[in-house]
Subunit: 157 residues, 2 copies
DNA sequence: TAATTTTTGCGTCTCAGTATCAAAAGTTTT
DNA sequence: AAAACTTTTGATACTGAGACGCAAAAATTA
Protein backbone atom coordinates (compact mmCIF):
# COMPACT_ATOMS: atom_id res chain seq x y z
CA UNK A 1 0.00 0.00 0.00
CA UNK A 2 2.98 2.30 0.38
CA UNK A 3 3.01 4.97 -2.24
CA UNK A 4 5.63 4.81 -4.89
CA UNK A 5 9.02 6.19 -3.95
CA UNK A 6 9.27 9.69 -5.30
CA UNK A 7 12.84 9.27 -6.49
CA UNK A 8 11.96 6.04 -8.24
CA UNK A 9 9.02 7.67 -9.95
CA UNK A 10 11.16 10.54 -11.09
CA UNK A 11 13.73 8.17 -12.49
CA UNK A 12 11.15 6.11 -14.29
CA UNK A 13 9.71 9.26 -15.79
CA UNK A 14 13.15 10.39 -16.88
CA UNK A 15 13.70 7.14 -18.69
CA UNK A 16 10.31 7.52 -20.31
CA UNK A 17 11.15 11.02 -21.52
CA UNK A 18 14.52 9.94 -22.81
CA UNK A 19 13.02 7.07 -24.72
CA UNK A 20 10.60 9.47 -26.39
CA UNK A 21 13.19 12.15 -27.00
CA UNK A 22 11.57 14.56 -24.62
CA UNK A 23 13.27 16.82 -22.14
CA UNK A 24 13.04 17.11 -18.41
CA UNK A 25 12.24 20.69 -17.57
CA UNK A 26 11.79 22.53 -14.32
CA UNK A 27 8.06 22.74 -14.93
CA UNK A 28 7.72 19.03 -15.53
CA UNK A 29 9.83 18.42 -12.47
CA UNK A 30 7.60 20.62 -10.35
CA UNK A 31 4.56 18.77 -11.60
CA UNK A 32 5.81 15.27 -10.95
CA UNK A 33 7.14 16.29 -7.56
CA UNK A 34 3.70 17.55 -6.73
CA UNK A 35 1.96 14.50 -8.12
CA UNK A 36 4.03 12.12 -6.08
CA UNK A 37 3.77 14.04 -2.87
CA UNK A 38 0.09 13.22 -2.54
CA UNK A 39 -1.92 10.07 -2.06
CA UNK A 40 -5.15 11.59 -3.22
CA UNK A 41 -6.94 11.57 -6.49
CA UNK A 42 -6.75 14.94 -8.12
CA UNK A 43 -8.03 16.86 -11.10
CA UNK A 44 -5.93 18.79 -13.58
CA UNK A 45 -7.04 22.09 -12.06
CA UNK A 46 -6.13 20.95 -8.56
CA UNK A 47 -2.75 19.88 -9.81
CA UNK A 48 -2.28 23.27 -11.39
CA UNK A 49 -2.92 24.98 -8.06
CA UNK A 50 -0.67 22.68 -6.11
CA UNK A 51 2.16 22.75 -8.62
CA UNK A 52 2.03 26.53 -8.69
CA UNK A 53 2.55 26.67 -4.96
CA UNK A 54 5.76 24.83 -5.58
CA UNK A 55 6.82 26.67 -8.70
CA UNK A 56 5.08 29.79 -9.90
CA UNK A 57 6.30 29.16 -13.45
CA UNK A 58 3.88 26.31 -14.13
CA UNK A 59 1.13 27.11 -16.56
CA UNK A 60 -2.22 25.48 -17.09
CA UNK A 61 -1.18 24.35 -20.54
CA UNK A 62 1.86 22.54 -19.22
CA UNK A 63 -0.16 20.73 -16.60
CA UNK A 64 -2.63 19.61 -19.23
CA UNK A 65 0.29 18.44 -21.35
CA UNK A 66 2.20 16.68 -18.61
CA UNK A 67 -0.61 14.64 -17.11
CA UNK A 68 -1.10 12.62 -20.29
CA UNK A 69 2.64 11.97 -20.35
CA UNK A 70 2.49 10.67 -16.80
CA UNK A 71 -0.45 8.54 -17.81
CA UNK A 72 1.33 7.16 -20.84
CA UNK A 73 4.37 6.34 -18.77
CA UNK A 74 2.21 4.29 -16.45
CA UNK A 75 3.02 6.29 -13.35
CA UNK A 76 -0.43 7.72 -12.98
CA UNK A 77 -3.85 6.48 -13.87
CA UNK A 78 -6.51 8.51 -15.59
CA UNK A 79 -10.00 7.78 -14.41
CA UNK A 80 -13.45 9.11 -14.74
CA UNK A 81 -16.10 9.01 -12.09
CA UNK A 82 -18.96 10.31 -14.13
CA UNK A 83 -18.14 13.92 -13.39
CA UNK A 84 -17.37 16.14 -16.31
CA UNK A 85 -13.70 16.30 -15.57
CA UNK A 86 -11.01 13.66 -15.25
CA UNK A 87 -9.37 12.43 -12.11
CA UNK A 88 -5.81 11.23 -11.85
CA UNK A 89 -4.61 8.62 -9.45
CA UNK A 90 -0.95 8.69 -8.38
CA UNK A 91 -1.14 5.36 -6.54
CA UNK A 92 -1.55 3.40 -9.68
CA UNK A 93 2.04 2.28 -10.08
CA UNK A 94 2.04 0.21 -6.87
CA UNK A 95 -1.45 -1.14 -6.80
CA UNK A 96 -3.17 -1.30 -10.15
CA UNK A 97 -6.30 -3.00 -8.81
CA UNK A 98 -8.48 -0.17 -7.75
CA UNK A 99 -12.13 -0.10 -7.07
CA UNK A 100 -13.96 3.04 -6.22
CA UNK A 101 -16.93 4.05 -4.22
CA UNK A 102 -18.33 7.37 -5.28
CA UNK A 103 -20.62 9.32 -3.03
CA UNK A 104 -23.72 10.50 -4.76
CA UNK A 105 -24.19 13.29 -2.21
CA UNK A 106 -20.79 14.82 -1.70
CA UNK A 107 -17.57 14.95 -3.67
CA UNK A 108 -15.97 12.07 -1.87
CA UNK A 109 -14.38 9.17 -3.71
CA UNK A 110 -13.03 6.29 -1.70
CA UNK A 111 -10.57 3.87 -3.15
CA UNK A 112 -10.42 0.39 -1.78
CA UNK A 113 -8.96 -2.98 -2.38
CA UNK A 114 -10.39 -6.31 -1.55
CA UNK A 115 -8.93 -9.74 -2.05
CA UNK A 116 -12.40 -11.09 -2.46
CA UNK A 117 -13.24 -8.62 -5.17
CA UNK A 118 -9.98 -9.23 -6.93
CA UNK A 119 -10.73 -12.91 -7.02
CA UNK A 120 -14.23 -12.27 -8.31
CA UNK A 121 -12.95 -9.97 -11.00
CA UNK A 122 -10.62 -12.70 -12.12
CA UNK A 123 -13.55 -15.08 -12.38
CA UNK A 124 -15.58 -12.55 -14.31
CA UNK A 125 -12.77 -12.06 -16.78
CA UNK A 126 -12.48 -15.79 -17.27
CA UNK A 127 -16.17 -16.34 -17.69
CA UNK A 128 -16.10 -13.79 -20.48
CA UNK A 129 -13.11 -15.33 -22.14
CA UNK A 130 -11.53 -11.92 -22.20
CA UNK A 131 -8.02 -10.70 -21.99
CA UNK A 132 -9.04 -7.46 -20.41
CA UNK A 133 -7.42 -4.21 -21.15
CA UNK A 134 -8.92 -2.58 -18.13
CA UNK A 135 -11.65 -3.13 -15.69
CA UNK A 136 -13.40 -0.82 -13.39
CA UNK A 137 -15.77 -1.57 -10.61
CA UNK A 138 -17.61 1.51 -9.58
CA UNK A 139 -20.07 1.63 -6.78
CA UNK A 140 -22.26 4.61 -6.15
CA UNK A 141 -23.17 5.04 -2.53
CA UNK A 142 -24.46 7.56 -0.05
CA UNK A 143 -22.55 9.40 2.63
CA UNK A 144 -23.76 7.16 5.44
CA UNK A 145 -22.28 4.13 3.82
CA UNK A 146 -19.08 5.94 3.04
CA UNK A 147 -18.69 6.85 6.68
CA UNK A 148 -19.20 3.26 7.65
CA UNK A 149 -16.57 2.16 5.19
CA UNK A 150 -14.29 4.92 6.41
CA UNK A 151 -14.64 3.52 9.88
CA UNK A 152 -13.06 0.30 8.72
CA UNK A 153 -10.14 2.13 7.15
CA UNK A 154 -11.41 2.07 3.57
CA UNK A 155 -10.40 -1.54 3.42
CA UNK A 156 -13.11 -4.07 2.77
CA UNK A 157 -12.27 -7.70 2.46
CA UNK B 1 -34.95 -9.13 -22.99
CA UNK B 2 -37.78 -7.67 -25.02
CA UNK B 3 -37.69 -3.94 -25.08
CA UNK B 4 -40.31 -2.13 -23.11
CA UNK B 5 -43.62 -1.73 -24.85
CA UNK B 6 -43.82 1.71 -26.33
CA UNK B 7 -47.38 2.31 -25.25
CA UNK B 8 -46.57 1.18 -21.73
CA UNK B 9 -43.60 3.50 -21.58
CA UNK B 10 -45.68 6.38 -22.78
CA UNK B 11 -48.30 5.68 -20.19
CA UNK B 12 -45.79 5.41 -17.41
CA UNK B 13 -44.28 8.70 -18.48
CA UNK B 14 -47.70 10.33 -18.54
CA UNK B 15 -48.32 9.25 -14.98
CA UNK B 16 -44.94 10.60 -14.02
CA UNK B 17 -45.70 13.97 -15.59
CA UNK B 18 -49.08 14.14 -13.98
CA UNK B 19 -47.68 13.38 -10.58
CA UNK B 20 -45.22 16.23 -11.01
CA UNK B 21 -47.75 18.63 -12.47
CA UNK B 22 -46.05 18.68 -15.82
CA UNK B 23 -47.67 18.62 -19.21
CA UNK B 24 -47.43 16.23 -22.09
CA UNK B 25 -46.54 18.22 -25.17
CA UNK B 26 -46.02 17.28 -28.77
CA UNK B 27 -42.29 17.81 -28.39
CA UNK B 28 -42.05 15.54 -25.39
CA UNK B 29 -44.17 13.02 -27.21
CA UNK B 30 -41.88 13.09 -30.22
CA UNK B 31 -38.89 12.57 -27.99
CA UNK B 32 -40.22 9.62 -26.05
CA UNK B 33 -41.53 8.03 -29.23
CA UNK B 34 -38.06 8.30 -30.63
CA UNK B 35 -36.39 7.04 -27.47
CA UNK B 36 -38.51 3.92 -27.34
CA UNK B 37 -38.20 3.11 -30.99
CA UNK B 38 -34.55 2.22 -30.59
CA UNK B 39 -32.62 -0.41 -28.72
CA UNK B 40 -29.35 1.42 -28.90
CA UNK B 41 -27.57 3.65 -26.49
CA UNK B 42 -27.70 7.22 -27.65
CA UNK B 43 -26.38 10.64 -26.82
CA UNK B 44 -28.41 13.80 -26.40
CA UNK B 45 -27.23 15.09 -29.76
CA UNK B 46 -28.16 11.87 -31.51
CA UNK B 47 -31.58 12.02 -29.92
CA UNK B 48 -31.96 15.58 -31.14
CA UNK B 49 -31.27 14.49 -34.72
CA UNK B 50 -33.59 11.50 -34.57
CA UNK B 51 -36.39 13.36 -32.86
CA UNK B 52 -36.17 16.12 -35.41
CA UNK B 53 -36.68 13.64 -38.21
CA UNK B 54 -39.93 12.78 -36.52
CA UNK B 55 -40.94 16.31 -35.59
CA UNK B 56 -39.14 19.35 -36.85
CA UNK B 57 -40.38 21.38 -33.89
CA UNK B 58 -38.04 19.77 -31.39
CA UNK B 59 -35.27 21.97 -30.11
CA UNK B 60 -31.95 21.11 -28.56
CA UNK B 61 -33.00 22.68 -25.27
CA UNK B 62 -36.09 20.53 -25.03
CA UNK B 63 -34.14 17.37 -25.64
CA UNK B 64 -31.69 18.34 -22.92
CA UNK B 65 -34.62 19.03 -20.63
CA UNK B 66 -36.59 15.90 -21.43
CA UNK B 67 -33.85 13.33 -21.07
CA UNK B 68 -33.39 14.08 -17.36
CA UNK B 69 -37.15 13.71 -16.93
CA UNK B 70 -37.04 10.31 -18.58
CA UNK B 71 -34.15 9.42 -16.33
CA UNK B 72 -35.95 10.56 -13.22
CA UNK B 73 -39.01 8.59 -14.19
CA UNK B 74 -36.89 5.46 -14.42
CA UNK B 75 -37.66 4.78 -18.06
CA UNK B 76 -34.18 5.49 -19.25
CA UNK B 77 -30.77 5.15 -17.70
CA UNK B 78 -28.08 7.77 -17.82
CA UNK B 79 -24.59 6.36 -18.11
CA UNK B 80 -21.12 7.53 -18.74
CA UNK B 81 -18.46 5.62 -20.55
CA UNK B 82 -15.59 7.96 -19.94
CA UNK B 83 -16.36 10.05 -22.98
CA UNK B 84 -17.13 13.70 -22.47
CA UNK B 85 -20.78 13.27 -23.16
CA UNK B 86 -23.47 11.17 -21.58
CA UNK B 87 -25.12 8.12 -23.01
CA UNK B 88 -28.71 7.14 -22.42
CA UNK B 89 -29.98 3.62 -22.34
CA UNK B 90 -33.62 2.98 -23.23
CA UNK B 91 -33.47 -0.70 -22.21
CA UNK B 92 -33.13 0.09 -18.58
CA UNK B 93 -36.75 -0.37 -17.58
CA UNK B 94 -36.80 -4.09 -18.40
CA UNK B 95 -33.35 -5.20 -17.44
CA UNK B 96 -31.62 -2.99 -14.93
CA UNK B 97 -28.54 -5.21 -14.65
CA UNK B 98 -26.31 -3.94 -17.36
CA UNK B 99 -22.65 -4.42 -17.81
CA UNK B 100 -20.76 -2.77 -20.58
CA UNK B 101 -17.77 -3.51 -22.69
CA UNK B 102 -16.30 -0.41 -24.23
CA UNK B 103 -13.99 -0.64 -27.18
CA UNK B 104 -10.84 1.35 -26.72
CA UNK B 105 -10.32 1.59 -30.48
CA UNK B 106 -13.70 2.39 -31.95
CA UNK B 107 -16.89 3.91 -30.65
CA UNK B 108 -18.58 0.63 -29.98
CA UNK B 109 -20.20 -0.15 -26.67
CA UNK B 110 -21.61 -3.59 -26.09
CA UNK B 111 -24.11 -4.30 -23.41
CA UNK B 112 -24.33 -7.74 -21.96
CA UNK B 113 -25.84 -9.71 -19.18
CA UNK B 114 -24.47 -12.69 -17.40
CA UNK B 115 -26.01 -14.73 -14.63
CA UNK B 116 -22.58 -15.46 -13.34
CA UNK B 117 -21.67 -11.83 -13.15
CA UNK B 118 -24.95 -10.99 -11.51
CA UNK B 119 -24.24 -13.52 -8.83
CA UNK B 120 -20.75 -12.21 -8.34
CA UNK B 121 -22.00 -8.67 -8.05
CA UNK B 122 -24.35 -9.77 -5.34
CA UNK B 123 -21.46 -11.33 -3.47
CA UNK B 124 -19.40 -8.19 -3.87
CA UNK B 125 -22.19 -6.09 -2.46
CA UNK B 126 -22.51 -8.39 0.48
CA UNK B 127 -18.83 -8.55 1.19
CA UNK B 128 -18.85 -4.77 1.38
CA UNK B 129 -21.87 -4.63 3.63
CA UNK B 130 -23.36 -2.12 1.28
CA UNK B 131 -26.84 -1.32 0.27
CA UNK B 132 -25.75 -0.16 -3.13
CA UNK B 133 -27.30 2.73 -4.90
CA UNK B 134 -25.79 1.75 -8.18
CA UNK B 135 -23.09 -0.45 -9.51
CA UNK B 136 -21.31 -0.46 -12.76
CA UNK B 137 -19.00 -3.01 -14.20
CA UNK B 138 -17.12 -1.58 -17.08
CA UNK B 139 -14.68 -3.50 -19.13
CA UNK B 140 -12.42 -1.86 -21.63
CA UNK B 141 -11.50 -4.09 -24.49
CA UNK B 142 -10.14 -4.02 -27.99
CA UNK B 143 -12.04 -4.59 -31.20
CA UNK B 144 -10.93 -8.19 -31.61
CA UNK B 145 -12.51 -9.14 -28.38
CA UNK B 146 -15.64 -7.23 -29.19
CA UNK B 147 -15.99 -9.12 -32.43
CA UNK B 148 -15.58 -12.39 -30.60
CA UNK B 149 -18.22 -11.39 -28.11
CA UNK B 150 -20.45 -10.26 -30.95
CA UNK B 151 -20.12 -13.73 -32.41
CA UNK B 152 -21.73 -15.19 -29.34
CA UNK B 153 -24.60 -12.74 -29.53
CA UNK B 154 -23.33 -10.35 -26.86
CA UNK B 155 -24.47 -12.85 -24.33
CA UNK B 156 -21.82 -14.28 -22.08
CA UNK B 157 -22.70 -16.57 -19.25
C1' DT C 1 -62.13 35.23 -23.27
C1' DA C 2 -59.06 36.64 -19.70
C1' DA C 3 -55.78 35.32 -16.29
C1' DT C 4 -52.40 32.06 -14.86
C1' DT C 5 -48.96 28.51 -15.35
C1' DT C 6 -45.88 25.76 -17.92
C1' DT C 7 -43.04 25.00 -21.88
C1' DT C 8 -40.51 26.18 -25.64
C1' DG C 9 -36.63 27.98 -28.52
C1' DC C 10 -33.08 31.08 -29.08
C1' DG C 11 -29.02 32.74 -27.69
C1' DT C 12 -25.68 33.21 -24.22
C1' DC C 13 -22.74 31.29 -20.79
C1' DT C 14 -19.78 27.92 -18.42
C1' DC C 15 -16.20 24.90 -17.97
C1' DA C 16 -12.79 21.21 -19.08
C1' DG C 17 -9.82 20.34 -22.27
C1' DT C 18 -7.35 21.14 -26.98
C1' DA C 19 -5.00 23.79 -30.63
C1' DT C 20 -2.19 27.60 -32.20
C1' DC C 21 1.80 30.17 -32.37
C1' DA C 22 5.46 33.17 -31.28
C1' DA C 23 8.86 33.48 -27.74
C1' DA C 24 12.04 31.07 -24.74
C1' DA C 25 14.90 27.41 -23.38
C1' DG C 26 17.59 23.42 -24.27
C1' DT C 27 20.68 20.65 -27.78
C1' DT C 28 23.86 19.92 -31.33
C1' DT C 29 26.99 21.28 -34.68
C1' DT C 30 30.75 23.70 -36.22
C1' DA D 1 30.73 29.72 -27.79
C1' DA D 2 27.95 31.14 -31.79
C1' DA D 3 24.93 29.50 -35.05
C1' DA D 4 21.47 26.28 -36.33
C1' DC D 5 18.09 23.33 -34.87
C1' DT D 6 14.62 21.12 -31.77
C1' DT D 7 11.54 21.06 -28.03
C1' DT D 8 8.84 23.39 -24.58
C1' DT D 9 6.40 26.93 -22.77
C1' DG D 10 2.58 30.30 -21.78
C1' DA D 11 -0.98 33.23 -23.42
C1' DT D 12 -4.88 33.11 -25.82
C1' DA D 13 -8.37 31.47 -28.85
C1' DC D 14 -11.25 27.77 -29.68
C1' DT D 15 -14.34 23.59 -29.13
C1' DG D 16 -18.22 20.99 -27.67
C1' DA D 17 -21.52 19.29 -24.15
C1' DG D 18 -24.59 20.93 -21.39
C1' DA D 19 -26.93 24.62 -18.31
C1' DC D 20 -29.27 29.03 -17.95
C1' DG D 21 -32.21 33.28 -18.71
C1' DC D 22 -35.82 35.23 -20.90
C1' DA D 23 -39.46 36.59 -23.82
C1' DA D 24 -42.84 34.40 -26.76
C1' DA D 25 -46.03 30.57 -27.27
C1' DA D 26 -48.91 27.02 -25.75
C1' DA D 27 -51.76 24.78 -22.48
C1' DT D 28 -54.83 25.07 -18.44
C1' DT D 29 -58.12 27.23 -15.41
C1' DA D 30 -61.34 30.61 -14.15
Amino acid sequence: MARINRAAAKEKFLRFLEQKNLRMTSQRMAIIDTVFSTDQHFTAEQMLDWARERDQAVSRATVYRTLPLLTESGLVHEMDFGKDYKYYDPNYADSPNHNHIICQDCERIVEFESDKIEKLQGEISQSLGFSLKAQQLRITASCDELKRLGACKNKAS
